[in-house]
């Protein structure tokens, strides 16, 4: 089987085409990675290299000074740095855990109960994939103001939970990967809906909710609260980062050091979940 595939591939692939492809891929790879390389390289530059004229891309004498200067630089703020760190962790973890739980439960019900209401619900979920927080900002703001969650942690958490991506991905995955017979069998053995969900369906849909964990973490980690959070004591690291980043060329080394540190958690989670993501995405199609 494998050999056949290989032989056939040579048939529709020309050597010229392959060469062109490699060049395109290398250029595209460079284009996407340059900012990343830039931020890592710059974070290790000593002051004189940061200010060097003409600017040099690569670092000559790397130093950790920019990283060491960070705590002091960041604690000149109104609120101790630990507060921002705790806020970020609290918001990110709550959003991720709650979103995975809430979306998985809704996806499970949509799978198990097929009537006109759940059909309508899933149609709306699919349609709502089009709209994100940015497009809905204005009408959402009015609702937030009405229910009084502006300038509270809820302003971070609740709107994030309403994202339909999770329900969509998990439901599609459950439809094609959780065999109905297993659920039937569990029911015959006397398991209730809650037990079936927690002990049977959730373990089987692990790739799907790990995928959601990645996406959810990624967006929660960079959430700044925008115009919904005023109190300094409720702000998160990304908003603090903004203030370091905008403080000029001499601070650009530290700005990049913060950036690099902030990049680490999402990258680690991506690496841990990557294969699950691909498995999940294969069932993510929309039927029109």
């Amino acid at each position: 089987m494998k050999k056949q595939t290989a032989r056939y591939k040579r048939f529709t692939r020309s050597r010229f085409g392959n060469a062109v492809y490699s060049i395109i891929l290398i250029l595209a790879g460079l284009f996407t990675i340059i900012p990343l390389i830039y931020s890592v390289v710059t974070s290790f530059k000593p002051l004189d290299e940061l200010l060097a004229f003409p600017p040099r891309f690569f670092v000559v004498r790397p130093t950790f000074k920019n990283y060491i200067a960070l705590p002091e630089l960041l604690s000149n703020l109104e609120v101790p740095l630990s507060r921002y760190v705790m806020n970020t962790l609290f918001v990110t973890v709550s959003i991720t855990v709650l979103q995975v739980l809430v979306s998985s439960m809704a996806a499970f019900v949509t799978c198990q109960v097929k009537n006109r209401w759940t059909k309508l619900f899933f149609m709306l979920v699919q349609f709502a994939l089009l709209y994100n927080g940015t497009t809905l900002a204005v009408p959402q703001y009015l609702i937030f103001a009405k229910i009084g969650i502006i300038d509270t942690y809820w302003a971070y958490i609740l709107p994030a939970l309403a994202s339909t991506m999770g329900v969509f991905l998990i439901k599609q995955f459950m439809e094609s990967n959780v065999p109905e017979v297993l659920i039937e069998a569990a029911r015959i053995d006397g398991a209730g809906a809650g037990r079936i969900f927690w002990r049977l369906v959730m373990p089987l849909s692990k790739p799907a909710w790990l995928t959601l964990t990645l996406f959810s973490f990624q967006s929660a980690w960079t959430a700044t609260g925008g115009n919904l959070i005023f109190s300094e004591s409720l702000k998160t690291l990304p908003s603090v980062m903004g203030s370091v980043v905008s403080s000029g060329l001499a601070r650009s080394g530290s700005a990049m050091a913060v950036t690099v540190l902030m990049m680490i958690p999402p990258v680690l989670i991506y690496m841990a979940t990557q294969s699950n993501v691909l498995e999940t995405m294969s069932s993510a199609g929309i039927k029109d």
Binding site: T12, P54, F127, L130, T135, M281
Partner: protein, 301 residues
Amino acid sequence: MKKTKGISKWSTGDKITLSLMMLPFLAVFVLFMIVPVISSLVLSFTEYDMINAPKFSGLKNYFRMFIEDKVFMIAIKNTLMFAVVTGPVGFMLSFMLAWMINELSPTVRTVLSFLFYSPALMGNVYFIWQVMFSGDSYGYVNSLLLSLNVISEPIQWFNDARYAMTLVIIVQLWMSMGVSFLANISGLQNVDVALYEAGAIDGIRNRWQELWYITMPSMSNILLFSAVMQIQSSFSVSTIATTLTGFPSVNYSTHTIVTHLSDVSSTRFEMGYAAALSVFLFALMAVTRIVIGKLIDSTGK
């Protein structure tokens, strides 16, 4: 799960459990997605400043949008420009790159996938482009062009209406390899190899024919999903634009519907008019979504 016989098989206790499981998501979904959309539709026919009660004003907001508001016309033009360039280009780019790396060895594929997805992982790191295209001679691009004698004085990249739009488009494209890219990779990996072999026997000559007649039709559902993701991001370009080019941008060169929306709502508090703008944006995105669904449906025919 094709053989489901409906809820009847669940006991009353289970039905209560199932309803309770549905409740949390349903509540936030209705409150933060459905209600906002409906309320913007209603408010779009009123004048509302968030202090006094909304006053019915008929179609006035819509007339204002298309007849009086000169800036809105610029915003539509820019939004469409972003959407037309970054939407299809981003979509094709994410599909083509996924397609190209699909045949490489698993290790190379994993590394390249990471590279292409990394901008999305880095979150709001796009400000780095600002450093690279910095307007003084400390900017890397300016410095490079100066030393090559292409230009004689530094270009104010983001403050020059001639370049601002193009640069924001480039940065948006750089960011665009997100969820849709991952979906495309996995869609491609799941196309049945037997179809390719059958295609080769039936006279498929090169990779383009194969792409059009076999690959795309057999992953059309995934393509629609990734198109939806691209529409979502390309129509709502605003933060990138305001971070890079400031607000308002020079001659409104990167002013989009979403930027306009936040200007009208959070600085002028004209919520009725803002609602009308949102309704217009929703409609624009929905129509695009339908058209793209039809287009994807027609591949391979």
